[in-house]
Symmetry: C2
Subunit: 300 residues, 2 copies
Amino acid sequence: MKDKFFNYIHDLQDTITSKLEAIDGKATFQEDLWKRPEGGGGRTRVIENGAVFEKGGVNISGVHGKLPESMQAYFGVKDADFFACGLSLVLHPKNPMVPTVHANWRYFEMYDQKGNIVDQWFGGGQDLTPYYLFEDDATHFHQTCKTACDKHHPEFYQNYKARCDDYFYNAHRNEGRGVGGLFFDYCKQTDAMNMQNWYDFVTEVGNSFLEAYVPIVEKRKGLDYTKAQRDWQEIRRGRYVEFNLVHDKGTLFGLKTNGRIESILMSLPPHVQWVYDHHPEKGSDEEKLINVLQNPIDWV
Amino acid sequence: MKDKFFNYIHDLQDTITSKLEAIDGKATFQEDLWKRPEGGGGRTRVIENGAVFEKGGVNISGVHGKLPESMQAYFGVKDADFFACGLSLVLHPKNPMVPTVHANWRYFEMYDQKGNIVDQWFGGGQDLTPYYLFEDDATHFHQTCKTACDKHHPEFYQNYKARCDDYFYNAHRNEGRGVGGLFFDYCKQTDAMNMQNWYDFVTEVGNSFLEAYVPIVEKRKGLDYTKAQRDWQEIRRGRYVEFNLVHDKGTLFGLKTNGRIESILMSLPPHVQWVYDHHPEKGSDEEKLINVLQNPIDWV
């Protein structure tokens, strides 16, 4: 399973970066191969200063070895070996009419002293963070997520949509990071779903990513925008930074377990603003976005 | 003691904001008075888009009531009443040749059920974060700190300088946030120092702030700078954000205990950049700064 899933994300990274380069038309991904001293490594691909993508990363990693002490307590186990691999991506478009997107699909195995698998699970999701709300876009993104989910379980979409809204939430601002999508974790063997079923589900979601996001980019990348709209985008990106550095478990885990810092923090936007006590005007498009972030909508 | 120290920071806020407005010559501080539903409140003063100060805040607060549950565990006590007051300031200058500065002076009291003081302490400090290193400036700042400390105890400067280097450290980057200054906390009654002695020390440091920082601003605010130097400042400001959101106990405490978000996050810089895997050129001024942040210097 671990080889099969690693091969999958390896190929998916190629598929996604090729497609994004074709859309951008100007910048290409810069690749960094890195090794983890304790075992494994990764292939980080970053795009910067493109015509469409101001900054983005599509990274894969596969790491293994002794479970770090900081993670032992987290998983409630002692000395154990582990394997973890995944694909993580974040794209920050230049045009404030194009939403930021984040996705991650991952697989984890834990072993006893003899090397037997004692636990294994999948996790991941994909979610959309607009600066200006086009309801059609949010509906398209969620509909694509739902179609992928529905092939595997009638309740997956509503469950994982709700978990996404819960997880990507800036509690200190009382607002969601974006308009959500899917979030799932600890997808383990059950009577209804064996690991192959979970593999089929997670790769179905992974395969749906370009279909969920690319049409939105194509539709919005040519729209005009003003300096004020660009400022709004940079202020909202500040909330993205706040979520990733204050609340996101994956980011904090990476920072505290000596992960590859540059691969983890590629998620941070290129240009960001913090303005004291900023509030959008009543009735404006900016206020409309905030209202939706404070009151998540059922998009499909 | 609590009234005396609150009056002190109240007056010091006026002294500092008047002086900073005079230096800026363009922008003035915008004042927000706020109340804490559970008891107390504050006076936040923020300056934005000045000729010298791109963004900054000089805030006082005095809060009291039942110790929030999240703080009970932190202080190792159960049901208790508390009073806390302090002045916090952060200034982000526009010109990358002028360093950012942060300072905080605070006082805390805890009470038993009958209202008797069961614990009380002072804390605080001041520290400098340059984008380009002028050694004279770092020496002047530290010398002013040392002169204030030496009037109260021969070991305060070296102890609190070392604690400042330890505290304002971006562990995930292996570098200090800046060139340090002073950091002290839990300054409680001892045989050598009663609370009045601590009050005298903390106010001595508070009174030294303008003397420590203003001459640096005056000396550097008129220097020319390039677009590349401004970009470097914005990239370094990203590290400031990373420290404040990932490591700073005060900020995280505020965010997790329902503090006034805008007063807490006024510390975040106005314009910030994150560039993937950015490294300064060998032998450049930018690299010289990094070397010093990785290897703290004894400035006096």
